[in-house]
Amino acid sequence: MKEAHPSLATYWIVFVVLVVLLGVTILIAEIKLPEDWMNLALAMSIAAFKAVLIMLFFMHLWYRTAIIRIVAVAGIVWAFIGASLTLADYFTRGWHEAQQPRVNVERVDRETGQAPPQLPAALESPAGSTDGPMQPQH
């Protein structure tokens, strides 16, 4: 069976680059960039680059037929679609703004501006299932 594969030098070069990039990842975590998200974006970009190197050479995608490459890329693209839709939902619920636990919040009637008459404790609905958007548990 004739199968194209990387040379010994290719494997070692990829390994050395991976270790160097690990060092770079640790270094940039120590450096204070203007914004916090920049450190994260940089670290994730380096990790993605390392993943591509491993996939192309250690996992031999570079040498494979088109169908295997398509499957590999489709898997990653699909994961991004799934994650994007999930995160789009969570990030638009306003949870970030509702950071403070809503305990001891004074209840005010919208129409009168007065506190509503007290309900008997037994009729109070359990915490978390009341009006308004769902709150994260604190």
Partner: protein, 218 residues
């Protein structure tokens, strides 16, 4: 027709590519599995950035860095073992597989040491969770400590599932090693070495993302 080619394949090459395609399809399902965990991480880090920073300070960066290097090295030995099989170097193949299994074991032992430290320090989510370090003062009040607890829940879930994959990978590699010692593999047939290698590299890639996300929260 060679003995190792099943009757429903035209030739060894078609059989090899088919096995590869199957393994990649399985890895796609694994990507789906881990992307769920990464989504959980993203949501909670977005909600409680300070707590994630605080939790990350309790992780051992030295052990984490050593483990990352060990895993990268094991990926190299796996890649080289596939090459050894392709070149009919039986002895080299066996030793590279032994090295891979040894490196994988070193990773799990270091992980176990890290876990035991977390248990001793009371950082395992649950009723016993507590923040004891002097620099934990700002997080002493219970609701903020709960957010750090969330970080550790995510930490144990992600590294735990990663370690589980390592254990499974080691089990498969021990099987491959036995086959290699029996002389099953040669330049015409080394599919199990290749596809097990694909799985191992995938687990390595997962760790490459986990390491900065857990140990290096700036």
């Amino acid at each position: 027709m060679n003995a190792h080619v099943a009757h429903h394949f035209d030739n060894a090459e078609q059989q090899f590519v088919t096995a590869n395609l199957g393994m990649w399809l399985f890895l796609v399902t694994e990507v789906m599995f881990f992307s769920g965990l990464f989504a959980v991480y993203t949501i909670y880090r977005y909600l409680y950035p300070e707590a994630f920073h605080e939790g990350s300070r309790h992780l051992d960066l030295v052990l984490g860095t050593i483990n990352t290097t060990v895993l990268l090295l094991s990926s190299l030995t796996v890649a080289l073992s596939v090459r050894a099989a392709q070149l009919n170097r039986q002895k080299q193949l066996v030793w590279l597989l032994v090295a891979t299994i040894a490196l994988g074991t070193v990773f799990l032992v270091i992980k176990a040491v890290e876990y035991s430290h977390k248990f001793e320090e009371g950082l395992v989510p649950g009723s016993g969770f507590q923040l004891r370090h002097p620099y934990d003062e700002a997080f002493a009040d219970s609701s903020r400590a709960r957010h750090v607890e969330l970080f550790f829940a995510v930490y144990f879930a992600m590294t735990g599932f990663h370690a589980l994959h390592m254990v499974i990978g080691l089990g498969i590699f021990i099987t491959v090693l036995v086959l290699a010692i029996r002389g099953t593999f040669h330049s015409e047939y080394y599919t199990p070495v290749e596809v097990t290698g694909l799985y191992w590299h995938f687990v390595d890639i997962v760790w490459i993302f986990l390491f900065p996300l857990l140990y290096l929260v700036a």
